[in-house]
């Protein structure tokens, strides 16, 4: 197990290096002079040159990259062009709201998705199956931003039950978490169903049934437990999907999270913030994939040997 873990950990190094190269190259890919962008449009030529020296932009490119890696290792992310605040502070403020939003979305999506998937599998061909699968195909086709706006229209504007947006009490979480999680719940339901159907056709399930195991035990102990193994991987992958989806949902509900910070930065070309955010998202994805691999290795010993 330890060897498997170390191998997986080593596997993340090239990914992180590739991403850091991309994020580093980002400044040079942008149209225009980065020193001019940081110094501002009114800065004199001397000021621009001074900024260039400060940012090491006059140094050879490899030395810039090494310095960049060194800074990242010390969490020195620079300052925002727009507000002149340290980027680490901006991101620090926005991190928790996004984390909680994705976590709660994931919690309801997993329970609803797996529940519906199992129900569908057990009652294959019945009306429950059909209803659940109609929900699932609609869930992946629904534009999340539209769903969010329709909910605001109904529950906030017309009924006045929930706040239209913002961050604070549990009421603020209901609509954003539902909106963000619905597509994931749909994907989970479809996937769980097909995993269930596949396992239900296995010989050992038939054996269990034929030796007189109760139907309840056949479903939960023999089928669902085995069907959930691939679902773990999917959950991890969907977490990454949620982080992306959060960007859109945060815009709908005026959520003070990383997603809205990213959109604002892209519109303003606040590249130190964009760089830091892309790197952060990359780190999160890599971390999630690592955790999923480890969980998978734990539940399925076969994987460790590959």
């Amino acid at each position: 197990m330890l060897e498997y873990f170390l191998r997986r950990l080593a596997g993340t190094v090239p990914v992180l290096l590739a991403v850091s190269l991309f994020v580093f190259a980002f400044v040079h890919l942008l149209p225009g002079d980065p020193a001019r962008m940081v110094a501002g449009p009114e800065a004199s030529l001397e000021q621009v040159e001074r900024t260039r020296a400060e940012l090491w932009l006059d140094q050879p490119i490899w030395s810039q990259y090494v310095r960049y890696l060194d800074q990242m290792a010390h969490f020195e992310l620079g300052r925002s062009i727009k507000t002149h605040e340290p980027v680490s502070k901006l991101i620090g403020e926005r991190f928790m709201p996004t984390l909680w939003l994705t976590v709660w979305s994931m919690v309801w999506a997993v329970f609803a998705g797996v529940g519906l998937g199992v129900l569908s599998g057990v009652r294959r061909g019945g009306w429950e199956d059909r209803a659940a699968m109609i929900f699932a195909i609609s869930g992946i086709s629904f534009p999340s931003f539209w769903l969010g706006l329709m909910m605001i229209d109904l529950f906030s504007v017309r009924l006045g039950w929930l706040p239209t947006g913002g961050y604070g009490s549990w009421q603020h979480f209901v609509m954003p978490a539902f909106t963000l999680g619905s597509a994931v719940a749909a994907v989970m339901a479809r996937f769980t169903r097909s995993a269930y159907v596949e396992v239900a056709a296995e010989d050992y399930v038939r054996t269990a049934r034929s030796k007189g195991v109760t139907e309840r035990a056949v479903i939960w102990t023999h089928t669902v437990r085995n069907a959930l193994i691939p679902v773990i991987t999917l959950t991890g992958l969907q977490f990454g999907f949620l982080l992306g989806g959060a960007i859109v949902v945060e815009t709908v509900f005026a959520w003070p999270g990383l997603g809205r910070l990213l959109i604002d930065s892209v519109s303003f070309r606040d590249y130190p913030v964009i760089q830091a955010e892309i790197l952060l998202f990359a780190l999160e994805f890599v971390l999630i994939n690592l955790i999923v691999d480890l969980l998978y290795g734990m539940v399925n010993p076969e994987i460790r040997l590959k």
């Binding site: 992946i140 629904f142 504007v157 097909s194 982080l243 992306g244 815009t251 892309i278 994939n289």
Partner: protein, 290 residues
Amino acid sequence: MSATTIGTAAIRTPFGEFWRRFRTKRMALFSLGLIVVLVLAAALAPWIAPYDQATPDYDALLEGPTWAHLAGTDTYGRDIFSRMIWGGQVSLTVGFLSVVLGCVVGVSLGIISGFFGGWLDGLMMRIMDVMLAFPGILPAIAVVAILGPGIVNVIYAIALSAVPVFARLVRGTTLALKQTLYVQASRSIGVSRTKLMFVHILPGTMPAVIVYASLRMGTSILTAAALSFIGLGAQPPSPEWGAMLSDGRSYLGVADHVTIFPGMAILITVLAFNLLGDGLRDALDQKLRT
């Protein structure tokens, strides 16, 4: 049962075989019909749209649906139904071009990777793994952040995120097809490598590619609409569905129709492509069935 029937059954073409299975999928057939209608409506927009999509009418601001304006009017008094028809051009074109671009690049990389194997395959698949590590809308936002907002950049961005999906898929099929008797036989009689890849192997990868392309159309249209909604895609006054919907945000509870109708257009279109993809998967490839 006469001998002739058995005879025709035996020489059924691959397309005939596919059609025989596909035509039993009612939802998929209905979706295909719907897509044809949507494409025709978008293509014929200049002739069938009841109003000009860009002309303001300051006497009819934010009017609800009536017989004169089937989906009501927006903040400038423009007819929303006409704008939805025109918007279909934008959404369907963006979806189609990004899928075709991503598909051509991805399929080529996948075939080359699977066919040659070795270090080239290893390197390419590692790169694809890195790209696949970023799912959803995020890579598209990163690309738009570099290239700048706008609908053309959105096409590149969405195409890029489709490349690894097709590359992985086609690489897998190529590895399997490389071992088949007919490819081995062609190789032994000295057929060139290019011909082997693109004449003998490529057609075999198509069923899976077609299924994914259809599902990907839905995803791409949804992503493009989301990017326009958050202000990074099509810019006003473009009648793009996501951008139109974004306009309605300030009028929830006052003029809901500005938000409701463009959203329905997105939902129906994406749903149609997803249902078509599901039907194609069932009809084309038993192994892909989930």
